[in-house]
Symmetry: C2
Subunit: 338 residues, 2 copies
C-alpha cells in the first residue's frame, strides 16, 4: 500500500508523468490539480531497456528547460515491485527485473517512481476524475486487455508483491480462450478490445449474413476487423456490431459482479480505449452486473461510471503518485558511484 494522501497534499510542485505504451511514449508536465501543462510524444524503442531509459531522460530534460520539476512518474504495462522501483515484467517491453527507478534517479537527479499503467490511470480517476472522493473505488482500464486498480481509504492497493489488481486474469471460463498470461478463460479474453475484435473476426469468418457490412468495412478481409472498427460501426448504428458490444458488456458486468463479491467497492469506473463505446457498452454491463451481483436485494449495487480523463489518465496518475510519493514516502537509494 502506498501512504494515504496527506492533509496538505503537495500544494505546489510540478511533476512529469510518462506513459510508456507498446508503440509510443507520452509524457506531460502535470500540476497539483492534475492539469496537463505541456505534452510530448515519442515512439517506443522496444528492443533495449537502455534505449527506453534514454527516451525518458531526453523527455525530462526537454521539459526541465521550461519547468521546475520535482519528480517523475513512469507508468507502463506490467508488474512493478511493491516499492515502485523495479519493473518485474513488462509484456510489451524488454524489461525483466529492471531496477528502473535506481537507474533513472541517478541519471535525472530527481525522485522517480515506477507504477503499473492501470494503477496510474485509476489513481488519476480517483484524484481528479469520475471516482473523486470515493472511499473505495475499483477502476477498470479496458484496452487490448483489462487493467485494474483499487483505491481504498485514499491508498492505492498494490498487494504484497506489487501486483494486485490484475483483475483481467481472473479465470471466468474453464478451458476458455487462451490468454497471453498462459492460462485459459481469463476475463480479459471476454471483456476487452481484443475480445471484441476476435468476436467480429469469427463472425465474419463464419460467413454470417449479419456480418456482411462489417466485413465490407474491413475491405473484405476478416483479419482486418479490430475492436476499434466494431466500436466505430456500432456507434454508427450497425446492428451486428451493437450486438457484439452487448456481448462484451455482458462479460464486463459479470466480472464486475465477481469483483463486487470479493472487494465490495462503493463505485466502479471504466476507462481505457474501449470505454469510448459509451452507453453501447455501459448499459449492457450495468444490466449484467445487476443480474450477477451476489446478494442483490440485500446489498447496495455499486454504480458503474465511465472514466473522465481519457487517454491521459495514466500520465496524470503517474505524475501525481510520483509527487505524493516523493513528499511522503521512501526514496530509492541512489548508486554510490558517479
Amino acid at each position: 500500500m502506498l501512504p494515504a494522501v496527506p492533509a496538505r497534499l503537495g500544494r505546489r510542485g510540478l511533476a512529469i508523468g510518462i506513459d510508456i505504451g507498446g508503440t509510443k511514449v507520452a509524457a506531460g508536465v502535470i500540476d497539483v490539480h492534475g492539469q496537463v501543462l505541456a505534452e510530448l510524444v515519442r515512439p517506443t524503442p522496444a528492443t533495449d531497456p537502455r534505449q527506453v531509459e534514454d527516451v525518458i531522460v531526453d523527455l525530462v530534460h526537454e521539459f526541465a528547460a521550461s519547468y521546475r520539476i520535482w519528480s517523475v512518474g513512469i507508468g507502463a504495462a506490467g508488474w512493478m515491485d511493491q516499492s515502485g522501483s523495479t519493473v518485474l515484467f513488462s509484456p510489451h517491453l524488454a524489461w525483466r527485473n529492471e531496477p528502473l527507478r535506481e537507474n533513472l534517479e541517478y541519471k535525472l537527479r530527481r525522485r522517480v517512481m515506477v507504477v503499473n499503467d492501470a494503477d496510474a490511470a485509476g489513481w488519476a480517476e480517483w484524484r481528479f476524475g469520475a471516482g473523486r472522493g470515493q472511499s473505495r473505488l475499483v477502476c477498470i482500464t479496458l484496452g487490448t486487455g483489462i487493467g485494474g486498480a483499487l483505491i481504498a481509504d485514499g491508498r492505492l492497493e498494490r498487494g504484497r508483491h506489487g501486483v494486485a489488481g490484475e483483475f483481467g486474469h481472473q479465470i471466468v471460463v474453464p478451458q476458455g480462450h487462451r490468454c497471453e498470461c498462459g492460462n485459459r478463460g481469463c476475463w480479459e479474453q471476454y471483456a476487452s478490445g481484443n475480445a471484441l475484435g476476435r468476436e467480429g473476426r469469427e463472425l465474419a469468418r463464419a460467413n454470417s449474413p449479419v456480418a456482411q457490412d462489417l466485413l465490407r468495412a474491413a475491405g473484405g478481409d476478416p483479419d482486418a476487423i479490430t475492436g476499434a472498427l466494431v466500436t466505430r460501426m456500432a456507434a454508427e448504428g450497425d446492428a451486428t456490431c451493437i450486438e457484439l458490444l452487448d456481448d462484451v458488456g455482458h462479460w464486463l458486468g459479470l466480472g464486475l459482479a465477481n469483483l463486487a463479491a470479493a472487494l465490495d467497492p462503493g463505485q466502479f469506473v471504466i476507462g481505457g480505449g474501449l470505454s469510448g463505446a459509451g452507453d453501447l457498452l455501459l448499459l449492457p454491463a450495468q444490466r449484467s452486473f445487476r443480474r450477477h451481483l451476489t446478494g442483490r436485494g440485500f446489498r447496495p449495487a455499486a454504480p458503474i461510471s465511465m472514466a473522465r480523463l481519457g487517454a491521459r489518465a495514466g500520465m496524470v496518475g503517474a505524475a501525481d503518485l510520483a509527487r505524493i510519493n516523493a513528499r511522503t514516502g521512501t526514496r530509492g537509494t541512489r548508486p554510490a558511484g558517479p
Copy 2:
C-alpha cells in the same frame, strides 16, 4: 476497514466470543492471547431473532458470574453492515436488517460487535494462528460454502458496505451449478463441503462401480452421502473419495489463483470443516494454484497453509475483534429508554 491494531493492544481484559451457526451457538471467554478460558454450547433457535438474542444474553450472564467481561463479539454467517452493528442478512437465521448491536448493548450493558463468521475466523488465524504476522493475508473458510477474509496491514477489510470477502460467490463456471445466492457457477459450488457431497452423490447415482464402497458406507442410499463421509473415506484410503477431494482441490487452487490475481496476498490460510482433509485437499490445491497463477515465473507464489485454530476460530476472532473495537473504535449508540 477496521482500525489497525494499536501498539499497546489490550494487554488485559477478557471478551466473550459467540459463534452463531445454523444448528448451535458456541460461546467462549477469550483472553488477550486468544486462549479459550471457558466454553458453552446451546442449540440455535432459528425462528425468532428475539430468541437468538435471549440465548446470547443468557450465555453472557452465565460467563459474567465467573469472569470480568469487557466486550462481546458475535460472529454469524451473513452480511453485517460496515460498522459492525446491523445484520443485513443471515442465510440460516431470521435476521433481516436487524440492529443486533444496539439491542444487545442495551440488554448487556457491554460493548458488542457483530461480524461475519469468516471474517472472525480469518482475524483469529491472523492474530493467533497460521497467518500470524502476515502483512496481507487471505483466509478461506471451507464449510458447506466458502467464507473469506482479507487482513491487510493489520486491518480487516470489510468493504464499502461491510460485505467484502464473499469470494465464494465469484462466478467461475458460466451456466454452472445453481447457487443459493441466486446465480450459477459460483466458486463455492465447486470447492466446498457441499460440492464434495454433491459429487459423491452424483457418482453413486450414476451406478459407477468405482463408487460401490462409498455407496455401501452410506447404507446404500446415495442421498446419505455427504462431504464429511467422502472426506472420512478418503482419509481411510478409498481411491474414489481421494479422487473426489482431488477434484475439489483443483477448483480450490483455481479460485485461489483468481484471488492472487486480484489481491496479491502474501499467504493463504485454509480453514473450516473441509480443511480437516489435510494434504488430500491441500496438495491438489497447491498444484492447481501454481498451474493457474497468472504471471507464474515472474512473481512469487503465495504459500497456502492449513488453519491452526480449528472450529473455535470464529469464536476467538469475534471476541478479539470486539475487544479491540471497544478500545479503539466507535461504539454503538444505546437507546435512550429505561
